[in-house]
């Protein structure tokens, strides 16, 4: 979406233009495909494990997102944000340990 750029307004015509531009960027199709894989993986996990276990564990996306942002998008992640990400990782570990 950084390649596509932000919408100048929320008028339906402008939003439609952004969506059409987005559909021409190959990364969007890859991202959409991976989100579809994530959704069906979530369904699979929910068929086996408790939702109160699965959903907190999906918070690991904050950890993956921080690393992905640094590696692929050259984002600058501040110490405060790393602290938040570390807290999320600790929380997920506790959820794993608290699994029945």
């Amino acid at each position: 979406m950084k390649v596509v750029g932000e919408s100048p307004s929320l008028r339906p015509a402008e939003v439609a233009k952004v969506i059409l531009r987005a559909l021409r960027v190959p990364w969007m199709w890859l991202g959409g495909g991976m989100m579809a894989v994530a959704f069906f993986s979530l369904l699979g996990a929910l068929s086996i494990y408790d939702v109160s276990f699965v959903v907190p564990v999906t918070a690991l996306s904050y950890v993956a997102g921080a690393f992905g942002g640094v590696v692929f998008l050259r984002e600058h992640v501040t110490m405060q944000r790393w602290l938040g990400v570390l807290l999320v990782a600790i929380g997920v570990t506790l959820v794993f340990l608290g699994k029945n």
Binding site: S47, D50, Q80, V85, G91, L97
Partner: protein, 138 residues
Amino acid sequence: MTRREPLHLKTYLLITVMVIAGPLGNVLLGKGMKHIGEPAMWPPPQLLHTGLNIFTSASIWLGIGSLTTFFVAYMLVLSWADYSFVQPASSLAYGVVALLGYLMLGERVSPLRWAGIAVICLGVFVVGRTNPRTTGQV
């Protein structure tokens, strides 16, 4: 001053919708998938059968509807409210998921799991309070 009040009301209303609709959607998906059971991926006819079971489940469709409501509320509120305000508020959703899991699905949530969820909420809150943009325009 009067103009800010409807803005605050809209913001809190939509965040409330997010914090309820998101977890409700996940719990409904969980309910649907528990009813269907572990999906069979092989052979291919079994995968088709699994797909049909999933997409003919009322709970699954209600869950998708609820998650769509969450997403629309999220996009709407972000159009006027700061991300750094919305994101920490939405961290409460992790606690709501566990509560709804207990109330609607009878899940047992151990004290350690509650502690983990509280730490996740704190972590998401801390992340949400950071500057959302650290790169220039592409």
